[in-house]
């Protein structure tokens, strides 16, 4: 634990339903819902629409539960960082113990319900995702290594794999590639944000790469991960979930992403400061579009398949 643990939150005021819902990190949940849904719809075969709906809902609840556990454990950090002081625990609306109880209860609930609704492979993957995010990332890696974002990104990469397992009951090359796409996308996405969002990671005792190794090294890391990501993203287009729409999307987006990463790597910090981190901000914006459009293209291929148009 860091010095940040001195800032122990105390409960003040009454929490409304919205405060408990905020514990589940709804914005992160929206990404989980979208990618899990794409994984589920792209998988060969099919499930009953109501089971598909319930499965995505339980995956989202599981993701939300791990968010609540993250907020419980990180309450001391959240109280120090400006961006997170208004979260339910540091703002005093929800007691830390309550957040932990909600996180644990919803975790068990989501895993059991997903198992009963679909199959136990999907439920096992969801349980592992929650464990990975709450224990491996939040409790262990986040405060220990500047590579926290890299390894922790795996937690956010599991939902399409779980969606795929809901339909197929297993893991395959395509679901692993969807996992890898999010896994390799996460570091450049977060490090670009860290470059222009001067956050208080140092005060909070979180070893972000920008703090531990400097901004020049962070820029180089962004470029390296973007170079590694490109063949992976384009290669996915050659599998059964790819097709012409996906391939065109991937080639264009990866060319733009590589160009953006190259610009970030090439320029010195002074130039970035002078134009208020314009390249870094536009790269971050592009990264959001990058993931959305890649998964959107997979979804489009799956949706067109019944009409003989999607896929190769």
């Amino acid at each position: 634990m860091s010095d940040a643990s001195l800032h122990t939150p105390t409960q003040t005021g009454e929490a409304g339903f919205g405060d408990y819902f905020a514990l589940l990190k709804p914005r992160v949940m929206s990404l989980v819902v979208f990618t899990a849904m794409v994984g589920l719809l792209a998988a060969p075969g099919g499930v009953h629409p109501f089971i598909a709906f319930c499965a995505v809902l339980f995956i989202a609840v599981g993701g939300g539960a791990s968010g609540a556990l993250n907020m419980w454990w990180d309450a001391d950090i959240d109280a120090v960082m400006k961006r997170t002081t208004s979260r339910p625990i540091p703002s005093g609306k929800v007691a830390p113990g309550e957040a932990m109880a909600i996180g644990l209860t919803l975790s068990v609930f989501a895993v059991i319900m997903l198992g009963l609704a679909s199959n136990w492979v999907a439920a096992g993957l969801l349980a592992f995702t929650i464990f990975f995010y709450a224990v491996i990332y939040t409790m262990w890696l986040k405060r220990w290594t500047p590579q926290n974002i890299v390894i922790g990104g795996a937690a956010g990469a599991f939902p399409p794999m779980i969606g795929w397992a809901v339909v197929t009951g297993g893991i395959s090359l395509e679901s692993v590639l969807m996992f890898m796409l999010i896994f390799m996308w996460t570091p450049p996405h977060f490090w670009a944000l860290a470059l222009f969002m001067k956050s208080d990671y140092k005060e909070a005792g979180v070893p972000m790469l920008t703090v531990t190794h400097g901004r020049k090294v962070t820029r180089a890391h962004i470029l390296v991960y973007t170079i590694l990501l490109a063949p992976l993203a384009i290669g996915t287009g050659l599998t059964s979930i790819g097709g012409p729409i996906y391939m065109v999307t991937a080639v264009v987006l990866n060319a733009l992403f590589l160009w953006g990463a190259y610009k970030i790597w090439r320029r010195p910090e002074e130039a970035a400061k002078a134009d208020m981190y314009r390249s870094e901000k536009s790269f971050f914006g592009l990264s959001l579009l990058y993931l959305f459009l890649h998964f959107g293209a997979i979804l489009a291929e799956a949706a067109l398949k019944p009409y003989g148009l999607g896929g190769w």
């Binding site: 409304g16 339903f17 819902f21 319930c54 009963l116």
Partner: protein, 57 residues
């Protein structure tokens, strides 16, 4: 003896929480009911022997 409803300040303060929990529970019941209907109509709860028999005509 009066049976007048006493509106405590606590009820107002916790109304959003109570309504939220209530709606969540109703949604959960609807989901379990829906899942049961889907699984029963698809024959998920039939014993394996019965399912094989049905598949073979």
């Amino acid at each position: 003896m009066s049976f007048e409803k006493v509106e405590h300040e606590l009820h107002k303060r916790r109304s959003s929480r109570n309504i939220g929990v209530g709606l969540t529970l109703v949604a959960f019941i609807a989901i379990v009911f829906g899942l049961t209907v889907v699984k029963v109509t698809r024959g998920d709860f039939e014993p394996e022997s019965v399912r094989v028999q049905q598949e073979n005509g």
